[in-house]
């Protein structure tokens, strides 16, 4: 699974892109975030406020209950501020 981090998600985690192999119990977006939080204080802080977080699975906005699978590209970022 490919993970992408943007804006302050990238700054706080210190990662812009990585490939991970979450355990089998990671079935949904929510599962993935819970698993990621355990990876260290940077991740815990970055993912602390779920409200301030947007997730895209394969470049589509996703809900917490949406499924994630091994081949997916999952991106984590704050609400957008372009335009």
């Amino acid at each position: 699974m490919k993970l992408l981090y943007f804006a302050w998600l990238k700054t706080k985690t210190g990662v812009s892109e990585e490939t991970v192999s979450p355990p089998a119990e990671v079935q949904t977006v929510a599962d993935l975030l819970t698993w990621l939080k355990r990876r260290g204080p940077g991740f815990e802080e970055a993912l602390a406020d779920m409200e301030a977080l947007r997730v895209a699975v394969n470049q589509e906005y996703a809900e917490m209950t949406d499924p994630v699978t091994a081949g997916d590209e999952v991106a984590l970022f704050p609400p957008v501020t372009g335009g």
């Binding site: 943007f6 895209a56 970022f77 704050p78 957008v80 501020t81 335009g83």
Partner: protein, 152 residues
């Protein structure tokens, strides 16, 4: 048409190209977003626009398709820049051309409101205290929500 690019664009040339040769067009509406030197009362020097290559094009294309479905448009254009920008620089251009004035004006307004909440761009402002990621504004969500209600 959508374009995501680092380079600046020539506003006059882009708008001209949009209606050129199509004499069925009665009006062209456009909005250009510029880098301001004041954000939330604080002077900024410059900013860097980060985006999500791939998803950006996908979202902009979908927003444009939505406008083309809702309004009778002869042509439309979204250009969004990324990278480092100085105050006064052009960030975004949204333009629509239609036989009818209202269709051009409304769809242009719709496109920029939606883009503001859907297109994956993030602004990092240079401030005297260092780089600051800009917070999303509730007013942008409200502006975009208006267009959902109208579709009911």
């Amino acid at each position: 048409m959508i374009r995501v690019q680092r380079e600046d664009f020539d506003l006059g040339a882009e708008l001209r190209a949009l209606s050129d040769g199509d004499h069925g067009i009665g009006g062209v509406a456009s909005f250009v977003g510029l880098v301001r030197d004041m954000a939330a009362g604080e002077k900024i020097g410059a900013m860097t626009l980060e985006h999500y290559p791939g998803m950006t094009e996908k979202m902009l294309g979908r927003i444009e398709a939505e406008a083309l479905e809702r309004w009778p448009l002869n042509a439309s254009l979204i250009i969004h820049r990324y990278g480092r920008l100085e105050p006064g620089d052009q960030i975004v251009l949204v333009a629509t051309a239609s036989p009818h004035r209202e269709a051009a004006l409304e769809s242009c307004h719709f496109l920029i409101d939606w883009l503001k909440t859907k297109a994956p761009f993030w602004k990092l402002e240079d401030t005297p205290d260092g780089g600051q990621w800009v917070d999303a504004r509730d007013s942008d969500d409200e502006a975009a929500a208006r267009w959902s209600k109208r579709a009911d």
